[in-house]
């Protein structure tokens, strides 16, 4: 039974631990966005919610044992030469193959004959999340500006006090 239990834990928690924590953080952020009374707290919750989504995406792009999505520098140099030559010769595919094989002969320590996709983590989620981070800070900035205007108008950042003041103003006018 305990074996079964640990199996289930490993299956459902450890294998997806990042996803679990991402979901937990999302829920913390969402809960704060909906229920917090202070507007700044709502915005901190919003930022946590957004970073949790980013964590989710980045977790989706991870490969076990893979390195960062930047080609090895040595490989990069030889490949760049190959690419440059290929462009000049107008025979891109043949030229590239030729040069790469030559360079791998020169430097056998680095196996640059072919780029194995499994060796590099998936770059696409990273790109998407760069965008999402920037969008997040843009939203935060605009929201903080609005919060300052609210503070100027009502002298408070507590939602219940603002609502009370709005009610009072409506009854007066």
């Amino acid at each position: 039974m305990s074996v079964m239990g640990s199996f289930i834990i490993s299956q459902y928690v450890l294998d997806h631990f990042n996803f679990w924590v991402a979901v937990i953080l999302m829920m913390i952020g969402l809960y704060a966005m909906i229920t917090k009374n202070n507007l700044i707290k709502k915005l901190i919750g919003m930022s946590i919610f957004q970073t949790a989504i980013i964590l989710f995406y980045v977790s989706a792009g991870v490969k076990e044992g893979a390195t960062i999505p930047i080609l090895e520098h040595h490989a990069a140099e030889t490949e760049q030469v190959a690419a440059g030559d290929a462009g000049a010769e107008h025979g891109s595919v043949v030229g590239a193959d030729h040069d790469v094989s030559k360079s791998s002969e020169k430097a056998p320590a680095h196996e640059v004959h072919e780029i194995n996709p499994d060796d590099y983590s998936n770059p696409l989620p990273h790109v998407l999340m760069l965008t999402a981070i920037v969008v997040g800070v843009a939203t935060l900035g605009v929201a903080l500006a609005v919060a300052q205007v609210i503070y100027k108008n009502y002298g408070t950042l507590e939602e219940d006090e603002i609502l009370a003041k709005i009610k009072a103003a409506e009854n007066d006018g």
Partner: protein, 253 residues
């Protein structure tokens, strides 16, 4: 409200977790996302397409450059929006400005001032390095732009907002922020004029005969990143300057 929120959150969390057993395992190199032709193409072909080792930069500025253009626009919008929201409508703009802050040294600590004077050039140099070296190492227009903006913010914190705004007045930073987007878009429009699709940098090699299409891509990415850096750095400073002074651009923290 608390209960509604809690129920909504638990419901959402349950929904999100309910799909968890259908997920590929964490770190699985053969999950649909990681083994899709799109991702494989980026990893395998970036070098041959543009010769940029940092795939993230290549995807950001070239393959999905259209997204990045709008991302830059989002940053621009944030800056404009904050100015528009916080600025109290003045019928007569400008007028007699209050005396510039002559008491800079009195108000602010000499240790902080000296440290910042030493730190800011290094920060700015590093920012430029990050922008320019984005092809080969982590970094690029956004990161470099934010660091550059942070160096201005540091100056504004250390010496007060007014001296910082004297060096970089509002008109100038807004203009530079727009110029950044103009730089980005003009790369795309140049491709249009040369008869290819928008942002198809490869065709730009026709402008310089010695350049190959791959080099043209690589260099255009750098150009685009510089445009991004302009916008991002100026807008980051604008956001800080406006938020710190309640939109009045005087006093500050």
């Amino acid at each position: 409200m608390k209960w509604i929120g809690l129920i909504a959150v638990i419901f959402t969390g349950g929904l999100l977790l309910s799909a968890m057993d259908d997920f590929p395992n964490w770190g699985d190199a053969h999950s649909p996302a990681n083994s899709s032709p799109v991702s494989q193409y980026y990893i395998e072909q970036t070098m041959t397409d543009s010769g940029v080792p940092n795939m993230v930069t290549a995807v950001l500025a070239d393959y999905r450059g259209y997204d990045t253009m709008f991302e830059t626009v989002v940053v621009l919008i944030a800056g404009i929006a904050i100015m528009a929201i916080l600025r109290v409508a003045k019928q007569v703009p400008g007028g007699a400005k209050p005396t510039p802050a002559h008491e800079v040294g009195d108000q602010h600590d000499i240790i902080i001032g000296t440290t910042c004077r030493l730190l800011i050039p290094v920060l700015q140099l590093f920012a430029l390095y990050v922008i320019a070296h984005g092809h080969h190492s982590p970094g690029g227009g956004f990161q470099g732009g934010v660091i550059l903006g942070a160096s201005f913010i540091l100056a504004a914190i250390a010496k007060g907002l007014d001296p910082a705004l004297q060096r970089l007045p509002e008109k100038r930073y807004v203009k530079l922020a727009f110029v950044g987007v103009v730089i980005y878009v003009s790369f795309g429009v140049a491709c249009l004029i040369l008869g290819e699709n928008f942002l198809d940098y490869g065709v730009l090699h026709e402008l310089l005969p010695t350049m190959s299409a791959e080099e043209a891509r690589s260099h255009s990415m750098l150009g685009v990143e510089i445009g991004v850096a302009f916008t991002v750095s100026m807008i980051m400073f604008a956001i800080y300057a406006n938020l710190a002074s309640k939109g009045e651009l005087e006093g500050g923290l």
